[in-house]
Symmetry: C2
Subunit: 177 residues, 2 copies
């Protein structure tokens, strides 16, 4: 049994692989009929740490009228300066590999890579994701911000679960090797 | 009930959205443990016509030592000249919208868009696909030939089925509108 805390990418994507439209909008996602919280509530219980990019963090703040909804978790927000204004958030400009290495040494629950695309790219280029929970949305956007950009190595995964939540197909993968 | 023959894209794709490696190879796909024919046999019975690109047609010929395995179907192979050597194949350089329009006027079973990427792009740019059967493979390739490239319109789909075949997740979508 593996008890080390896992780094998890939990994200929704269009059928053609985009996490948002080019302008960042997500209406296409919210318009889809799911079921309950589409697995979010159960997932949220398995993590105690979130790693976000600054743009994603600010986008969430804005959507929630400046009431950040994740203070129950340890929040690491990546900014180029390593600085930010909220004392309840750990702002960092360390590389993600070093951050993950430190976090794995500490006991705790799983770590959620929230994104956006630059953060995901940094994790993928170093193959740092242990588990992928990908929720596929029945929409073809035609263009947008891609979930996966190019990364240097082929990564073999193992499907551990797949289920539908209404119109969503949510599949869970772990590293195969 | 809709009885018009449908244009179906039945294809396997890596989790990051590629139908083949950059060099066209598919070993990553054949290495995955599925179940039975992974839905292929049942699907193949629902179609009587195949539309392929010339490169795909030649790739199949080569893999099968020049014994084309699909003579039980009506084969349309798209070539820039509209000409080819096999009298049992309809070679065409018509645009795909006209081909589909003609086929839909004739009675028959469904039509399989086999690809490759240029053919799929031509169909997507005109929103000609009625049903998408996408089989997701648990591999992240990092780069390759993408299933979906940019196309001009957002297409809303409806999930009609999703199931696993071993390590594969196969989801079926139809146009929502």
């Amino acid at each position: 049994m593996e008890h080390t805390r896992k780094v998890v990418l939990f994200i929704a994507v269009s059928l053609d692989g985009y996490i948002a439209k080019t302008d960042g909008s997500l209406e296409w996602l919210f318009a889809v009929e799911g079921e309950g919280s589409n697995g979010y509530t159960e997932f949220y219980d398995t993590i105690d740490t979130m790693i976000s990019g600054r743009a994603t963090y600010e986008h969430v703040l804005q959507m929630m009228n400046n009431e950040y909804p994740h203070y129950d978790k340890h929040n690491i927000v990546l900014t180029s300066s390593g600085k930010g204004e909220d004392p309840k958030i750990s702002f960092s400009n360390e590389d993600v590999a070093s951050i993950v290495k430190k976090l794995r040494r500490e006991p705790g629950k799983n770590i959620w890579v929230v994104g956006g695309s630059k953060v995901i790219e940094a994790f993928m280029s170093e193959n740092l994701i242990d588990e992928y929970i990908i929720t596929v949305t029945p929409v073809l956007l035609g263009e947008g911000i891609p979930l996966f950009t190019k990364f240097p190595q082929e990564i073999k995964l193992k499907l551990t679960n797949s289920r539908t939540y209404g119109q969503f197909v949510q599949s869970t993968y772990v590293r195969a090797e």
